[in-house]
Amino acid sequence: MAEHEDWTAADDAVVRRAMATLRADVEATPLADVRFVKARGRARRRQRLLTWGAAAAAAVVVAGVAGYAALGTDRTPAPLPPQSSSTTTATPTPAYAALPTLADWRSDMGIEAKAVTQVATPPTVLCGVPLPSGFVDGYSVGSDASHPSGFALHFRPTGTTGTQAAAALAEAVEKCRSPYTVLPHYRDPFGAAWVTSSLGSGYVGIVSTKDATAVLLYTDPKLKADPLMAGFGDLLNTAQKRLEADGSSASGSTLDQPGALPLVGEWKQTLGLTGAVGLKPVKPFGPVECLSSEPGTKVQQEQITTDGMQFEGGQVRFAIGAGQDVATAAEGITNDIAGCQAGPSFKVTAVQVNGFPKLFSYTAGDAGAGWFAVVVGVSDVAVLQVVDPSHARSVFTKGQVGELAKTATGRLKRYGTGTDGTPTTSSPTINGPKAIDEKMPVTGPGTLPSWKLFVAASQWRSAVLTGGTRTTAGPGALEGSTAIAQCETDKQQAGIGGSVGVVSVRAGSGSAKYIGRQRVQVDQSTDPATQQGYVDARLGEAKALFGKGCSFANGTVKATPGPSAGTWRLDTVFNDGSPTLSEWVGVTAQQTPGAVTTVVISRAADPKQGFAELDRLLNLARQK
């Protein structure tokens, strides 16, 4: 404690004065305009940098932690990293194509090593939990236990997905307590977690794709706490990209592989990209450069990145609803791009504008150059963007971009909306009759959504739902409340933002003739990502609320899921012997960005057709 006694109040004053000097420097320096900071944040999205946001989003799976020594297998060598190897190579590639290279470990983690050491014996157990089958390869780097070291393992699991395997691994390592202490509550801002022990400190992360999983560990025996090694975040990002690139090359990249937009291998091949190329979905959806408005419903958005950031790419797909013309929607996008002014030096040149695909090149001064391609399918419009940030004029040619656009066209026509192919996203599916507009009274507590977003009351009419009786909209007994289904409450609904309105529908006249209700909730922002987030949140809430049923003072509500996603039958059983009441509830996103609807059928002439009628109404609602 001697050092504590060295300190005096005078010292404290000296230190405070010194720090105030620094504060004066800070105060004298202009703070960056917040618009610039936000632009920088948006640019991070546009530039498709796989930094922490993407890493975190990708990795619910970025796990906590365990050393290889903590794998709990008797095959596990000690100390870290594993010494079970037999083969030494100058570089992890190409044998370790899905894992970071030796150069990555050197640059990101400062590990001084000239070679990696192969993990020759597949590890089988992690903390008592079996590791996935399908061990592909692995290596350690830095074999001297007195210096920083790392290791990496690559699995292509069989019988489960890479993501599921990663989740299981994450759960397993969270429980590890020896020889490393796992700190499950601690998550590095870059997406990893860290451990500490008498052996030193380090990071462990797990990354995954649909098909594969990789585990990375870094340890430094001299670090006892707080490693502050943000380079590990970069290493994880690199691992993610290499895992994705490896997956695409392993599985090939032909049109037979499903996907409504070009696959990563097709980007790589048509543009001649080298090195690790990654493709990741953008979730939630973000803005598309140059588009002042977006047609239809944005259903897919992806970003393409390469090592070294010498290339960036993006692709987005809009599903164009029934009754809307795809070509007209595409022309709108074309006009936006042709007139785009994304910066003072931004200049767009129309290169191919007759028919589709349409191609535009652009230059952006110091920000480089690039291309846009506008592609149409049966009921989709897609925009591809090639960003070449390092050249004043893009090194990519019209032929290359045209070939990519041609591939996109083929994919849209085979796998896009309105085709026989399997849609690659959860975009609203529109089948059956076309929705019509019908002006109806909408009730709600505040700003009301347009009546155009509601299924026309006359379209509720059907033989099985109303026995053919005419249906109309009218003020209901629940007027003023937006809780329209069992298990919903006004209090719960009051906590939900956006505009909300309800239309009540009756068969015939009279207050006792109501057969159902529709509620529409709309996010009032204009930001597509925010709108998508709002819709996703409502859909998630519905699943949680209706999926498990509920109880109340005089009974319980039993939930039975319907044959379609987002539909349930709610059977209310009363304790006092009153007859059980059934209603059919469905929730779906609508064509209007940020709109989500709930349809409740409270009375059906033929209850056996309740779910079928619900599906019919939901299909009409989706078109709105």
Partner: protein
């Protein structure tokens, strides 16, 4: 939350807290340019995922930690940094160093990294020992010891500077 309110909320958050983060990173690195850039990058990341960050227990702690790590690890490649600046037309806004600043920075640099971190977080970030312990995942006793040691060493170094330079 609508986009407008999110924007306004972030703007206010940035306006109210950014200088404190610059100051903290400046104290830790001794480089005002690095501090500014790391802080901007941290806030840019916060904006990139504001819907998540805003719900954190302490969004400022999130930004502070990210900024500190960015500055310390030097993870950003210089080429990326330069390109980002070029894209947005940003230039170095720092003036020449004052004598006082040189002395303080020199004194701070005499401290080991963990000690300097504790000192700057306490004196500049106005964080309590418990908060520093939480953010750095270090026992509170260790932080306390680092603070005491750092304070004494720093004062000694500063007094030495004053003696030599008047």
């Amino acid at each position: 939350m609508g986009a407008q309110s999110a924007e306004a909320e972030f703007d206010a958050f940035y306006r109210d807290t950014a200088r404190r983060v610059v100051h903290l990173v400046y104290g830790f690195t001794g480089d005002l340019t690095v501090a500014q850039d790391s802080t901007q990058e941290a806030y840019a990341r916060a904006w990139q995922q504001w819907s998540t960050v805003r719900t954190a227990d302490d969004p400022l702690a999130w930004v502070r930690t990210v900024a500190r790590r960015i500055a310390i690890s030097g993870w950003r490649k210089r080429t990326t940094q330069e390109r980002a600046h070029q894209r947005h037309g940003v230039h170095d806004t720092t003036g020449p160093p004052s004598e006082d600043r040189v002395a303080v920075v020199a004194a701070l640099r005499t401290l080991p990294d963990p000690v300097r971190q504790a000192v700057t977080m306490h004196y500049i970030g106005d964080l309590s020992i418990e908060q520093i312990a939480h953010e750095t995942n270090t026992p509170a006793g260790t932080i306390k010891a680092r603070l005491h040691r750092g304070r004494a060493q720093l004062a000694q170094a500063l007094r030495h500077e004053e003696t030599h330079h008047g």
